[in-house]
């Protein structure tokens, strides 16, 4: 409410100010123009009046001039007493010497021949050749000189001087009138703007308060009251209301879309979860159910080998060995698949664990595979981290046994386990100088059953790295690989290390 009152104050005040300014300036301009025009025309009128008086004096002093009668001329001039504005007058002969004079009603001037008004008439404006009169406004005096023409010949000059009291009085009257008119019209403007306020600023103030309410309370259900039937204000308010309506509609649509999306996401999630479960269950049951026939194949082929092996020829024994190898390989596959399925289903059991210990334990486990090999192990100091130690162990086991396996043909095998920091995240890497791989197939490494090497070269199921990726992702990390053919491979994954307490 306080906001609203200040608003109304400012806008109505602005409107009022604008009205008053406009009308004031217009009036002032009109007044000034009119005043200037009036001044000019008043001066002209004064000049004309003085000219007429000079003409009268001139025509009445012809005989006085012709017959050199200064007294008659002075008595003619004395008639000027009737005009209070005339301060001095004089008649000169055609040759320019003074003939008669009149020194107004100013007793001071009358007292002295040399009083200033009279002297001023002595410095009368020169009449240009071929002109009957000349005048000049100098100081506070208008001086007009006029030739006395008799029978087409100049016989003398009449000079009359008048004060500008009429002009001054006119100025005073004008200024006071202008002030009154200005005051009245400003008052009128004030009243009119009061009326205008109701029709212009009220709707705007209302609109502003509605806009404020909308932006504050995010309530798009309010509407501004319409102002009149036409005009920009009505358009504005109409447009504003329409906008609110559109926003409201959009809000509703948005809410509906959001609700539907939520519902859809829930559905999809449920579907996915179900599919996942199904898949897990399926793969588990498949691998589980595959074991029984596998055991039969394995068991009976072993019995066959033991009991009837000697009676079979070399080819049959070769076949039998193939069968047994196949069964064994399938057993590995099933085991790995089971592992993977288990990891997929398994909840993480997280606790602080030492990666150093884990690596050392894993190397110890790999002893049997390293029999008769020269492997240069370079193990850096690794951080502790919160993780599921059982699963992390699986990661290291897979990666390190891979390294051991793929360096089999390297003369000086070097396997490096290290850490580095990149963009504030800790990375563990395992590098070897073994067979390596084509970098462009790096993304395929982590797919299930995807292998970049033939089984004849390096045995394997193609499930290990897929399992490793699952475990790392479950821990919120990511894993990738870099390598070149015959120049070794590096596997890198991010970990979240525990805060090292000093």
């Amino acid at each position: 409410m306080k906001m609203r009152s200040s608003w109304s104050y400012s806008i109505s005040r602005r409107l009022t100010l604008m009205n008053m300014l406009v009308s004031g300036v217009a009036l002032l301009l009109a007044c000034v123009t009119f005043f200037a025009y009036d001044r000019v025309s008043l001066k002209e009128t004064m000049v004309n009046n003085l000219s007429i008086e000079a003409q009268i004096i001139a025509s009445n002093s012809i005989s006085a001039l012709v017959f050199n009668d200064a007294e008659a001329a002075e008595s003619t001039l004395a008639a000027l007493k009737a005009s209070s504005n005339i301060t001095a007058a004089a008649i000169y002969t055609a040759k320019g010497s003074e003939f008669a004079k009149y020194s107004g009603q100013d007793p001071r001037a009358a007292a002295s021949i040399d009083a200033s008004p009279y002297r001023a008439c002595a410095s009368r404006p020169a009449i240009p050749e071929g002109k009957a009169r000349a005048y000049s406004f100098a100081g506070d005096q208008l001086t007009l000189a006029r030739r006395v023409i008799f029978e087409g010949k100049p016989v003398g000059i009449v000079c009359i001087q008048s004060d500008l009291k009429a002009l001054d009085a006119r100025v005073k009257r004008f200024v006071s009138m202008g002030a009154v008119i200005l005051a009245v019209s400003l008052l009128a403007a004030l009243l009119i703007s009061g009326r205008l306020k109701r029709s212009v600023s009220e709707p705007i103030i209302q609109l502003a308060s509605v806009a404020l309410a909308v932006s504050r309370e995010k309530n798009y259900a309010v509407r501004a009251a319409p102002a009149g039937k036409s005009g920009e204000l009505a358009t504005l308010i109409g447009a504003f209301n329409e906008m609110l309506e559109q926003i409201q509609e959009r809000d509703v649509a948005l809410q509906t879309a959001r609700d539907q999306l939520e519902l859809r996401v829930q559905e999809r999630t449920a579907q996915l979860a179900a599919a996942n479960k199904e898949l897990e269950a399926f793969s588990y049951s498949v691998s589980h159910d595959l074991r029984a026939p596998l055991r039969h194949i394995d068991g009976f082929s072993m019995i066959l080998m033991q009991k009837y092996g000697p009676t079979l020829d070399a080819t049959a024994q070769q076949y039998l060995k193939r069968v047994r190898d196949g069964a064994k390989h399938m057993g590995h596959l099933v085991d790995d698949l089971l592992n993977m399925a288990r990891i997929g289903r398994q909840e993480l059991v997280v606790r602080p664990s030492s990666l150093n210990q884990m690596v050392q334990g894993t190397i110890a486990d790999l002893k049997s595979e390293c029999e008769g090999r020269q492997i240069d192990w370079q193990i850096a100091n690794l951080p502790d981290m919160k993780c599921d130690p059982g699963l992390m162990k699986v990661v290291f086991t897979n990666l390190l046994s891979n390294a051991v396996k793929y360096t089999r043909r390297t003369e000086h095998a070097v396997i490096e386990v290290g850490r580095l920091s990149e963009n504030g995240s800790t990375i563990i890497f395992i590098r070897d100088n073994g067979a390596g791989f084509e970098q462009e197939y790096a993304h395929k490494l982590f797919g299930v059953f995807q292998r970049l090497h033939r089984a004849e070269e390096f045995e394997g199921t193609g499930v290990g790295l897929a399992t490793v990726q699952r475990i790392i992702q479950k821990h919120g990390g990511r894993i990738w690989a870099e390598g070149k053919v015959n120049q070794g491979a590096t596997f890198l994954f991010t970990v979240v290390p525990l805060e090292v307490k000093a």
Partner: protein, 198 residues
Amino acid sequence: MPSPPFCTRYERCMKKFRVFPWMIAGIIAVSLVSRLDGRQQPKASGPQVEAAYLYNFGRFVTWPATLSAGQFGICILGEDPFGAVLDSTVSGETIDGKQIVTVRISNVQGAQNCRILFISPSEDKRLKQILAALDKSSILTVSDMPEFVQRGGMIQFVLAANKVRFEVNLATAEEARLQLSSELLKVAAAVKRVPSGT
């Protein structure tokens, strides 16, 4: 530029030295003005002024319309006091569109075509006969002989305060059906009514 009369210092000065400096200033000014006047305008001699007046009377007097001579005659009866001055004054001038001519006549019979007749003081003795001869002839009679107006003349030059003035006899002018303009009467030293035959 005159200083404005509402200057207070000016007024104070006026109060302090009311008379003395102003008197001196006035005397100086008057003497200056008079000297200047004297230098600008050599004092017009009596005949010169009178010649100019003669010619100017013609402009302030209206003759009856019946007169339709082609020229405007200014005649001098008797001894000529003007000489060449009058001729140079009126040469090339016209009155009512009529060329001015100067005629010197020795007797009043030669005045039929005259509008203005200057009667020289030399004719003093014959004045009565002359005026009688001119009766009803619409001729403006001018002279500088003494008592001219009392004796029935119309305009008489007189000297007043060393200035050439003139007196007018309105009665005889009206008898001769001449209209003297009020402007002329205004500047006359005296306007009298002395009917002829008195």
